[in-house]
């Protein structure tokens, strides 16, 4: 699974998930912060589940919360999936 993971794939999947959770699509981007997206702990629990399920990468929702932007989560997923 990890051999096919590309940064573009992870970015697309994470951004899609955030929109599905109800974040404003016009604000969702790599540079957005959780506050800007009004993403809360329940959203991050769901995002952690998506990431683990699809890329085999375990990042807790608390660890995600401490990362500054959406992009930094995407980068961490790509790095750990490699």
């Amino acid at each position: 699974m990890s051999t096919t993971v590309t940064p573009e794939q992870v970015e697309s999947r994470v951004l899609d998930a955030l929109v599905t959770f109800g974040a404003d699509a016009s604000v969702v981007s790599r540079d957005a912060t959780w506050e800007q997206l009004e993403v809360d702990s329940l959203d991050l629990v769901e995002l952690a589940q998506v990431v683990e399920d699809e890329y085999g990468v375990e990042i807790t929702s608390q660890d995600m919360q401490s990362l500054p932007t959406v992009g930094s989560v995407i980068d961490l997923v790509v790095e750990r999936a490699a």
Binding site: F21, D43, E46
Partner: protein
């Protein structure tokens, strides 16, 4: 002296449509909302009242409760500003079954894809207190909030508990109701297996041919306020919750006691709680499920509790128009009853054509009838009886003309 408790706002989403007045107008016009043997709230669209995130975080039962509470709060004139401190406002929403759609969906995910696919939102959506939590959060109400769980009497228990909260001084106002969204295969099949639901798909309470209830979905919410405070703020008052009592049959898991003793006792105690006599009752909003047993036992209980008055007072069932909304029934029926009292009418029992010789009360089969109340404030009792042997009866008064 217990303080009087006013009803200042009502909201309902039912198989007859969106809105408490829609329910009232369509039922009193003789219209029913049952299609193909189910009472679906087909006119309800959650996206009209909730954001994507709010809707994702709510089982359909919670969505219905939120929509009905929005309407009730608007109706009470609370939209711009709450008239009481938030910690003086409680939130009670009953349900019979809880978030069963969420449960079934996640069970399917578990079976098909394993535990990693089960939603993090599973438990918070299916828990039966979720509707109360969502309504409290949406309106920032920080007084006591919880769900009541007593099958088909949950809505009435919620209203009775809200009455006590205000009378006891725990809250100045309570947003109270019931909700149910259980029209999923497993619930339909389970009630069917129990032979509780109608194989013909017709809700005809008290009729000789009645053969079970018709499942429905929806929510009803009322805003209750201590009456003196409501008057002080110049609120428009629709009516009063004048009394309440709850009893238990302690007899059988699903069947009412054949003598209707528990039900009759609840009716008598509720009237006593309101300081009223059987002669004061102008209308009975029956539990009237359209099951052979309930309608027979309820008729017996009304005769026991009301004596001669039972034969004089009009008795009708909202379930003839919308089916049985389970944990929402008591609340939706309270909404329908208070609007009927305000208009001084007894709405009809629809589909009643063939009298049952044992069931000899006045079931208002001919259509909506004016109530002759001689200038008094009209009084109704609304009955709710639930699996488990739970009986809850509330006494409602219509506002002065």
């Amino acid at each position: 002296m217990k303080p009087a408790v006013a009803i200042t706002g009502v909201g309902a989403i039912t198989p007859l449509g969106v809105g408490a007045r829609t329910l009232h107008e369509r039922w009193t016009a003789g219209r029913g909302g049952i299609v193909d043997g189910l009472g679906r709230a087909t006119e309800f669209d959650p996206t009209e009242v909730m954001s994507v995130k709010e809707a994702r975080r709510a089982d359909r039962g919670t969505q219905l409760a939120v929509a009905a509470s929005d309407e009730a709060i608007r109706d009470a004139g609370w939209e711009d500003e709450k008239p009481y401190a938030p910690d003086r406002i409680g939130t009670l929403i009953g349900t019979g079954i809880g978030g069963i759609t969420t449960l079934v969906t996640n069970q399917d995910l578990l079976r098909e894809h394993g535990p990693s696919k089960v939603s993090a939102l599973g438990i918070p959506l299916l828990m039966p207190n979720a509707p109360a939590g969502a309504v409290s959060m949406r309106h920032g109400l920080t007084g006591p909030s919880f769900g009541t769980v007593s099958a088909c009497s949950a809505g009435a228990h919620a209203i009775g508990t809200a009455l006590r909260m205000i009378q006891y001084g725990e809250a100045d106002a309570v947003v109270v109701g019931g909700t149910e969204a259980a029209l999923v295969e497993i619930a339909v099949a389970s009630f069917g297996a129990l032979e509780a639901t109608s194989p013909t798909g017709i809700s005809r309470p008290f009729d000789a041919r009645r053969d079970g209830f018709v499942m429905g979905e929806g929510a009803g919410v009322l805003v209750l306020e201590r009456a003196d405070l409501a008057r002080e703020r110049g609120a428009r008052v629709l009516g009063e919750v004048a009394g309440y009592a709850a009893t238990s049959d302690a007899h059988h898991l699903t069947a009412p006691h054949p003598d209707g003793e528990g039900a009759a006792r609840a009716i008598r105690l509720a009237l006593a709680d309101a300081g009223l006599e059987p002669e004061d009752v102008d209308y009975v909003n029956a539990h009237g499920t359209s099951t052979p047993l309930n309608d027979r036992v309820e008729t017996v209980a009304l005769k026991t509790a009301l004596g001669d008055r039972a034969r004089e007072v009009p008795v009708s069932s909202t379930k003839s128009a919308i089916g049985h909304l389970l944990g929402a029934a008591g609340a939706v029926e309270a909404v329908a009853t208070v609007l009927a009292l305000r208009d001084r009418v007894a709405p009809p029992t629809l589909n009643y054509e063939e009298p049952d010789p044992e069931l000899d009360l006045d079931y208002v089969s001919e259509g909506t009838r004016p109530l002759d109340v001689d200038g008094r404030d009209p009084v109704a009792i609304s009955n709710s009886f639930g699996f488990g042997g739970h009986n809850a009866v509330i006494v409602l008064k219509g506002a002065s003309a």
